[in-house]
């Protein structure tokens, strides 16, 4: 009896210490992630000071308008939805060793088709069917668009960094061409698509402006996280990323996998556009260039493809983006602080990674 009792206490104690170990690990990785953030804020503050602006009131405004104020917080959550979906796509591509740097082009191509199709379908279909169709279309268009770099890579061995970057420039111009020539709304003076009526947009949650796209984003990030770590498909992708020659040697179908990686990764970017258009924008203008894809790249990398960290970084980024707009307006500077901060963040992240490596080598 007492032996059994002892055993359970030992097991319980082990479990507690395991949880403690886990917590310290989480704490440590949070700390290593926070140091670059703090560094970026300090250098960003110095730049603001040089420009004669008060960094404290600037950052105060960022927090106030991006996080504390109810309107700003809602806007932050709305912005997070497409960012999370783009991130989900990158969480597939990067561990598989595919540098999909063309999410901006994929986003815009998916978006422009969805924007044209939405008002067309809205009168005929009910909410759920309409949204599902738009989501599938956005995903599919971007996936098809990504077949160009995918085929160039899988069959002709052409570096995807270059092809995807080039296709972003092509996609931006091509979508503008489509809007100006074919999709434009004849009743407006600026070249833009027809507007999806507010009544036909994604349902909102918690009696706020936040639409269910946010849920789609969270689900996508968590599902991708699970897929990469626990399924055979995820392991195949990671093997391709870690050692493509070993993947070939093990008999994996590299062409099929490469196509899958590109289309999935791009598809999420297209889905992001569909969610954003069906949720808030409702329209695409000819010179539309959200240019968020390249900004998500470093965030996903910094989060090391881990769902919880990805969500945390995207949230912080969205706060800064939303709050930064108000803060920049108040400080009378153009709204490019967030670009600079992400660049800084990456620099500090690289430094942090090196420090960590050095300390782990010492021990």
């Amino acid at each position: 009896m007492s032996a059994l009792h002892d055993e359970t206490t030992v097991v319980a104690a082990e479990r507690v210490s395991a949880i403690e170990g886990r917590l310290t690990r989480i704490g440590r990785s949070m700390a290593t992630a926070m140091i670059p953030v703090i560094g970026a804020f300090v250098i960003g503050g110095l730049l603001l000071a040089v420009l004669g602006r008060n960094p404290f009131s600037f950052y105060g405004n960022v927090i106030h308008h991006g996080l504390i104020g109810s309107l700003g917080r809602q806007e932050t959550l709305i912005r997070m939805a497409p960012l999370l979906l783009i991130a989900a796509g990158l969480m597939i591509a990067f561990p598989a060793g595919i540098w999909n740097l063309g999410t901006d082009g994929q986003y815009v191509m998916g978006g422009v088709i969805v924007a044209d199709l939405g008002p067309e379908l809205a009168p005929h279909f009910s909410g759920f069917v309409l949204f599902t169709t738009l989501f599938v279309v956005g995903f599919a268009v971007a996936a098809i668009w990504s077949l160009i770099p995918a085929i160039l890579k899988a069959w002709y061995g052409i570096n995807e960094i270059i092809s995807t970057l080039m296709l972003t420039f092509i996609g931006l111009r091509f979508s503008a061409f489509l809007v100006k020539e074919y999709f434009y709304d004849r009743e407006t003076t600026v070249p833009q698509t027809r507007v999806l009526a507010v009544a036909d947009r994604l349902p909102r949650m918690f009696s706020s402006r936040v639409h269910i796209g946010l849920v789609v984003g969270f689900v996508a990030v968590i599902a991708v996280h699970f897929m990469m770590r626990n399924t055979a498909f995820g392991l195949r992708l990671r093997i391709v990323g870690m050692n493509p020659k070993a993947a070939i040697h093990a008999g994996m179908n590299m062409k099929a996998l490469t196509l899958a990686i590109f289309t999935l990764s791009a598809g999420f970017a297209g889905l992001a556009a569909a969610v954003n258009i069906a949720g808030v924008d409702g329209v695409v203008r000819a010179e539309w260039n959200p240019a968020v894809g390249l900004l998500v790249v470093p965030l996903v990398f910094l989060a090391r493809f881990h769902a919880a960290s990805v969500i945390a970084f995207i949230a912080a980024f969205a706060v800064f983006q939303v709050g930064g707009e108000s803060a920049s307006r108040k400080a009378d500077i153009p709204n490019f602080m967030v670009l600079f901060m992400v660049g800084l963040l990456l620099v500090f992240m690289a430094l942090g990674e090196y420090m960590q490596l050095r300390s782990s080598r010492k021990h």
Partner: protein, 311 residues
Amino acid sequence: MNGLFSEVFISSLVSGGVIAGIPLIYAGLGEAISERAGVLNVGLEGMMLGGAYGGFVGALHFHSTWFGLLSGGLTGMIISLFMVVLCVRLNSNQIVVGIAITLGAEGVTALLHGAIYADTYPRVPVVHPYAIPFLSNIPIIGPGFFNHHISAYLAVVVVFFVSWVLKSTGIGLSIKAAGDQPHALEAAGGGVHRIRTISVLSTGLLAGLGGSFIVLVGAGLFVPFITNGKGFLAIVLAMLVRGRVRWLIVAGVLFGMSLSLTTALQLAGIDVPIDLVLMLPFVLIIVVLFAFGRRSYLPAALALPYDREQR
């Protein structure tokens, strides 16, 4: 006479092609050097943009195009220091740091320009072209090719100089070894980090020169994001010429022409959707990659960090 074979079309295409192509040649040459040494510099766009802003400020401050170019080159070099410290010395991921440099440079130049010059939009000193005797008198294409600011001709000189360095000097030999077999260079007593540092700094200098050329000779003023993807185009050109850097002159001018096609078409009164024309250079890149990319030569150790104690 209007149309594709009119004089106004051809001469504006050639002249615009050279003006748009020279930055590609400068930056592409820089990229070619660092790629040869094994560093894939995705931050080229950011270095060009930084150079553009630095050149702009320098030219305004000193009222001199040459000082502008100098300060542009130095700015590019300073930005490339990030790449040196993070990628060459600390072995960070070259692609992520490259993106960081581009994003950071976009942000900081737009911010500074907006905060300092947004109300005045000043213009830099006007440049004076130098017409090369005889050559510039060739009908139709003569003025387009041979009547430019001296810094345009300088690009050609620099290309030949770098070509000579790579082929016939010890530094050139070490650069090639650093990209192809860095351990061999180290075993032979050369410093891989030293060579890669020199290479990346030259890349920054040349990208900065290219960027400031856009502002000082091409546009005459700075606007945010003025490089508009030229840095990425230059990366591809560097890959395509496969270490035979003299081909950059031809490739640069050809792609420059495709960039200046819209203006030339408008001048010639030809009506084509502007977006499709602006798309052209990038489509061209994909086509060229498809046609020649398969055989494009890249150094074996490209984008791989070098660690002496690891193999």
